[in-house]
Amino acid sequence: MEDPNFLVGFDHGDDGAVYKLTEDLALVQTLDFFPPMVEDPYVFGQIAAANALSDIYAMGGEPKTALNIVCFPDAMDLDILGQMLLGGHAKVTEAGAVLAGGHSITDVDVKYGLSVTGVVHPKKVLTNLGCKPGDVLILTKPLGVGIITTADRVGEASSRAMEEAIRSMTTLNKYAAEILQKFPLHACTDVTGFGFLGHLHEMLNQEVTAIIDSSQVPHIPEALAYAEEFLITAAAQRNRNHLRKFVDFKGGVPFNMEELLFDPQTSGGLLVSLPASYGEEVVTQLEALGLACGIVGHIVEKAEKEIVVE
């Protein structure tokens, strides 16, 4: 028997689970952890926490408590562990939540993440479903951090590109969420491992079609140059394999743009769908936060393909 208080689960690929406690209070829970994508352990801790907290914001919630999940090799310097946890702690504190403990195990590789619990009003839960024709789609962070961290791993990323990727990944979606919540959002998610097109596909749920204007997609400029150098990931190819039947790339969309749209993001931006009349006002307010963002497309009635990239 399904519990009636269990409002949102993972069946539609939503970002977190929502459980109603009372008429005006629900719990939002999420968990995410992964291996490092940057060298500096403090920065990695910040990114892992910003990424885990993001799911709470994508559900319209407010984070309250967080628990660390740590895998760490026996032989490795404990200072690295300490730095990593300090980075995570800093972001949890910035989010206004409490780091309440955690669990660590010995493993061959480092992995770190958090389980975050937040609260939300049961009537104000944001889900990734609900895009309507006439909506515009807004993305609050630039794409390309997957390509850039991959390029960095093989020594091919410029320090400027890496700095911008880190600035984006360590920025909490809290600030974008605070702006977005003032507007009547139809759907909201955060862009992470499935890439922009993967998370968009989950939002559309084969009920409506999205027309994406690739020239308007915010991105870190070097990501396109690196994709053209084939600094491409396995994860992006997996995303491509999974999504190709849903996406129609119009002629003129170059290969590197395709790769950017499939690029898995860590601690990516929020992707929201809301009536077109609010689009410019939202973007103006988001721009003040200092990250590349923009209106990336619009929703139309269901067409042959779920996503059309122009």
């Binding site: 093989v154 084939f230 396995a234």
Partner: protein, 200 residues
Amino acid sequence: MKKLIDARGLTCPLPVIETRKALKTMTEGQLEIVVDNEIALQNLEKMAQQMSLDYRAITISEQEYRMDIFLSEAEGKTSEAQHRLERIEEGTIVVISSQYMGDGDPILGKILMKGFVYTLTELDHYPSKVLLYNSGVKLATAGSDSIGDLQKLAEQGVEILSCGTCLDFYQLTEKLQVGGVTNMYEIAQSTMGATRIIQP
């Protein structure tokens, strides 16, 4: 000439990087690359398609996949991407120290500078860096007519760098729209290391 790359055990993008390295040393013959997963093979195929190479992809077993690339000297194909890489002249730096090009009427100077930046995007070869200082930083900040052209250069792999002190001075730090911020140390180091400095 036949060459083999055993890229088993390597994760993406390393098989592609190794293949591209080998291709640079070959003008004809056959290059065989062995990988241990299908995704890596698919990434190699994407590269081969983009570079318009003649290739064949073979599944040998669940843990072994091979791509054969056939090169013929007559065709001498280079991909656009490789071409682009060759278009960057590593030692060449463009230094723009003013929003105006040349002495004289400032309106004309501005028009000339816009034309200069645009023309950079059209040349066969790109500089490795464009350094902007003093009022030159205005070209990379909100309201400039050259944002699109600088963006185009950045996408081709040219580093666009504005002097931080100058952005501060003109109160434009928040308005930077393309490229990164640099400091005097980096400006001095880059210009010292350059083989050619172009100053419009």
